[in-house]
């Protein structure tokens, strides 16, 4: 039987939740990822599935302040997807938060779609704060935003950025880290998706970044190591960041999230070959079965 794709029109509220409430949201996001990548016939399955739990808590657990009806609201918190190739998880998240219709997910990576292969600021897709896709630039942008908020505008906004673990092999990432600590950016939360996978293999084999938590510590971050699939862990980490911000701790926060590439889809889990591939029809069927 041919696979027919439909996207639900479900949206979720952004509010304080018990940890067990996130699994339904994460499941919806993971299904969106499989469906949209299958339709696009290209794109990155592994890291998007692997970060779905983090996105669920960040956007639907009352962590970030935003208003889908007013995406340009001047007091909103901002999220920069430094690992731009992971945009399908962000596109699904923003649709499920109500920034635009999930209908747009049908046209991921297609000509004329606002859902570009890597986030394009020129497309004016609500919720996208910058173009990203050239690895390593998004965190510096986030540092600039956080500096502008804290030191120029002196407001209470927060800035979140997510990088891959292969991504932090880029040298400028560490220039960003240095500046974040130098400017005491307690309004900055840097999430590292530590799946130990990148295109050519294991991060430890391609170019080791370890011990990465010690590096962030040495740079002057408050470092929180978590299991990136444990909702309790993720929730607590963001709560710690919030208290760091409110108490003006004078340090940026780094959340090192141990994740599994392809999480939730049996045949993709922990396999780096799934970094940049979409599922074909057979694979999408199995994946959607796994994600019931």
């Amino acid at each position: 039987m041919a696979l027919e794709i439909t996207f639900s029109d479900k949206t979720f509220e952004n509010k304080k939740r018990n940890p067990d409430e996130f699994s339904e949201i994460a499941l919806e996001i993971r299904r969106d990822i499989i469906k949209s990548l299958y339709l696009a016939k290209s794109g990155h399955s592994g890291g998007t599935l692997g970060t779905s739990d983090i996105f669920s808590v960040l956007f639907f657990g009352g962590v970030m302040k935003y208003n889908p009806q007013k995406p340009d609201w001047k007091d909103r918190d901002r999220f920069v997807l430094s690992a731009g190739h992971l945009c399908p998880v962000l596109y699904s998240t923003l649709a499920r938060a109500g920034f635009y219709s999930p209908e747009e997910l049908y046209r991921l990576r297609k000509f004329g779609s606002r859902l570009q292969g890597h986030p394009g600021f020129d497309m004016k897709l609500p919720g996208i704060e910058s173009s990203t896709g050239s690895l390593g630039q998004g965190v510096s942008i986030a540092v600039g935003m956080a500096m502008s908020d804290k030191h120029a505008d002196k407001n209470n906004r927060k800035v979140f950025a997510l990088t891959g673990d292969g991504e932090v092999e880029e040298g400028t990432v560490w220039e960003a880290a240095m500046a974040a600590a130098h400017y005491k950016l307690d309004n900055l939360c840097w999430i590292l998706d530590n799946n130990d996978c990148q295109i050519d293999g294991r991060v430890k084999d391609v170019m080791s970044i370890y011990p990465v938590d010690k590096k962030f510590e040495a740079f002057g971050f408050d470092v929180i190591n978590i299991d990136g699939h444990n909702y309790n862990d993720i929730k607590n980490a963001f709560a710690k960041f919030k208290s760091n911000h409110e108490s003006k701790i004078g340090k940026p926060t780094a959340i090192i999230a141990k994740t599994i590439m392809g999480k939730g889809v049996s045949f993709m889990e922990d396999k780096y070959i799934w970094h940049g591939n979409p599922p074909n029809e057979e694979q999408a069927k199995i994946a959607l079965e796994d994600l019931k």
Partner: protein, 335 residues
């Protein structure tokens, strides 16, 4: 002149990967650096064959470029390849100082170049690197037209002393040169003789230029088609002869219309033999997601634009001074 035939389709990056293996077999001082996309830019072939001469640097283009310089300063022929968006721009300063200024044996591969990388979108569609790379003193820049030429060009830059950059693409493109076709760095190839208009192209657009010439011939117009694979050093003689013989030119490239092959041709002709030129390329815009063929059409990179530009430039030539654009109808590239 031999009849040019379509011999199938293959990506130019395969020619690059295979050329590296040939170099590895011939010279034991060839080393290759990986930038976490070895399977995309086909440095994986070299890695499999010569694992002891392959070094993974991770996602770190600036570092890889300067590490390559260190190898070159230690007597190696050092190759580094990534996507052209990152191996020409992320490392621009490193290329300028540590590579070009030092004038050493660093060879850069710029893969997945141009609009035809497709669905990845604007961030990955390098459309400006010809302009940048060709301004660097000491650099050689080559943009092969097909798989076979990419292989020859890779071997040629390995054997030429000094900094070199080779630009190639992701998708399978028409193959029409053979092992016997002439190829020398810095020597453009005339693929089709004609004296009515000269079409100067590089990369993927050479095939489109041949298609355009075929269509023009049906109207009795004989176009000279020049495969200008080496952008630097540019073949002044072939270009000036074309300007003199045809009196008008069209340039075609998978690149911005500003500063690329068209710019290089205009510099040569303006100085030596000014003729009207029309430029086919991306018109001062960023790309976007889409399928390669679809984007070629949307961004005006097919034989049809070359054909239309040829008719236009012939008309301008024939009007003589009247063909020079008046201030009121000067064209630029904004829509």
């Amino acid at each position: 002149m031999n009849e040019i035939k379509l011999l199938g389709k293959k990506p130019t990056r395969h020619g690059f990967g295979e050329g590296l293996v040939v170099l590895g077999e011939k010279y034991d001082n060839v080393i290759v650096l990986g930038g976490d996309i070895t399977g995309s830019v086909m440095t994986s072939y070299f890695q499999e064959k010569f694992p002891e001469r392959f070094f993974s640097i991770g996602v770190a283009e600036q570092n890889a470029t300067t590490i390559a310089a260190g190898f070159a300063l230690s007597g190696k022929i050092a190759f580094f390849a990534s996507y052209s968006a990152f191996s020409a721009f992320r490392n621009a300063d490193q290329l300028r100082i540590s590579v070009a200024y030092n004038d050493i044996n660093v060879k850069i591969g710029g893969g997945h170049a141009g609009i035809t990388v497709g669905p990845d979108g604007a961030t990955h569609q390098a459309l400006e690197e010809i302009a940048f790379i060709r301004t660097l003193p000491n650099m050689t820049l080559v943009v092969p037209a097909d798989y076979t030429e990419a292989k020859k060009a890779t071997i040629a830059i390995g054997e030429k002393f000094g900094p070199c950059f080779i630009r190639f693409g992701r998708s399978a493109v028409p193959m029409f040169t053979t092992d016997d076709s002439p190829f020398a760095l810095g020597k453009a190839n005339i693929l089709r003789e004609g004296k009515d208009v000269a079409i100067v192209a590089c990369g993927l657009l050479v095939w489109e230029a041949l298609l355009a010439a075929e269509e023009l011939s049906k109207k009795g117009i004989n176009a000279r088609v020049i495969n200008n694979h080496t952008i630097k050093p540019i073949d002044v003689e072939t270009l000036v002869n074309a300007a003199r013989d045809c009196g008008c030119m069209v340039t075609a490239e998978e690149h911005q219309v500003h500063g690329g092959l068209g710019g290089a041709v205009a510099e040569v002709t303006a100085k030596n033999y000014p003729v009207p030129i029309e430029f086919v390329g991306v018109r001062d815009k960023f790309g976007c997601s889409g399928e390669p063929e679809e984007l070629m059409v949307k961004f005006g990179l097919t034989w049809k634009e070359i054909y239309a530009s040829a008719l236009k430039v012939i008309e301008r030539r024939d009007k003589g001074f009247i063909g020079y654009r008046q201030v009121k109808d000067v064209e630029d590239y904004k829509e």
